[in-house]
């Protein structure tokens, strides 16, 4: 299996904290596109017409939102399951807190990791502070990917666990602006 590297700017750890100010027009653009881009010849013209601004302004504002990372990407999102990626594992790792930023970036850069975060521990029941989602066709293949992460972490890995999803109980698109 080979993966294409995502090239989006969110590849780096995001600078936490500050939110970019969005005005009413930005919010209307988000509202019009949050459930998807229209499949028509000039989709940004349609949005512009509804809002009462020019298509060039819609394009410019969306471009700015992309620059600031408010729009991560404009792209197609495949359905993992439909494409045969049926083994979806949340892998969790206990790594030293003072090394986690460096290690997290390296794990996140692996081509098969879709999400990688630092999250809190709950001792003594939960010792893991680094979370990385991996997607594979089979559990066997997923476990191979897990061992690649273990190899990368080396002796910084003080323990890990793999939580396969067994059932989707709920999955709704998030409404960002209602």
């Amino acid at each position: 299996m080979s993966f294409v590297m995502a090239t989006s700017p969110v590849k780096q750890a995001s600078e936490s904290g500050h939110n970019i100010h969005l005005d009413d027009i930005d919010r209307k653009i988000i509202q019009a596109t949050q459930s998807g881009l229209a499949l028509v010849s000039r989709p940004y013209d349609d949005i512009a017409k509804d809002i009462g601004i020019s298509a060039d302004e819609v394009i410019m504002r969306m471009h700015n939102m992309q620059q600031y990372g408010i729009i991560r990407r404009i792209a197609a999102v495949p359905n993992h399951y439909a494409l045969g990626y049926k083994a979806n594992a949340m892998t969790v790792w206990d790594v030293p807190d003072d090394r986690i930023d460096e290690l997290g970036k390296r794990v996140g850069a692996l081509e098969f990791v879709s999400h990688c975060y630092h999250r809190p521990r709950y001792l003594p029941g939960w010792r893991y502070n680094l979370f990385a989602m991996v997607h594979a066709h089979t559990r066997e293949e997923a476990l191979e990917l897990v061992s690649r992460i273990a190899g990368l972490l080396g002796e910084d890995c003080r323990g890990h666990d793999v939580l396969f999803s067994t059932r989707i109980l709920k999955k709704t698109g998030m409404r960002l602006i209602s």
Binding site: L39, P78, I168, G173
Partner: protein, 147 residues
């Protein structure tokens, strides 16, 4: 799904232009017509090969708040607890996982305070402790699956 569908999925996973006639632009690069691209794309969305197409917003940068939450649910109570958790519109995703922490949901609210409020309410209704796992740092989000 044929070769052209695969090609469309792979090309569109990597991005889409902000231009007046973006479908025509991408179609031309692929050597097909704009109509063919739009028709195929509609079909891939209708048959759920693609879960969505368009801009992906980072809700946190827009001021929203998110968290991942886990619960250790006794097997016999699982479905009843899932029903309570799923009844909240703030709960966007919920997965069963094979672990003693067997329920993991993603919660999204407009303010950080609301996360704790909803979790507290869920905790009271189900009588189980909920473990909040907010992200302390994000290292990577995004994946392209070649097909």
């Amino acid at each position: 799904m044929d070769e052209l569908d695969r090609k469309i999925i792979n090309v569109l996973q990597s991005g889409f232009p902000l231009s007046r006639e973006p479908y025509a632009e991408v179609a031309a690069q692929m050597g097909i017509t704009e109509t063919e691209l739009i028709t195929r794309l509609q079909c891939l969305l209708d048959n759920k090969t693609l879960s969505r197409f368009g801009p992906m917003y980072d809700a946190q940068k827009m001021g929203g708040s998110f968290s991942l939450v886990a619960i250790k649910v006794p097997e016999e109570d699982f479905d009843a607890v899932a029903e309570v958790v799923n009844s909240y519109s703030e709960v966007a995703h919920n997965y069963q996982r094979d672990h003693k922490f067997n329920m993991w949901y993603v919660i999204a609210t407009e303010t950080p305070g609301q996360i704790a409020e909803v979790n507290r309410e869920i905790e009271q209704r189900i009588g189980l402790k909920v473990f909040n796992f907010p992200k302390l740092a994000e290292y990577f989000v995004g994946l392209q699956l070649p097909v």
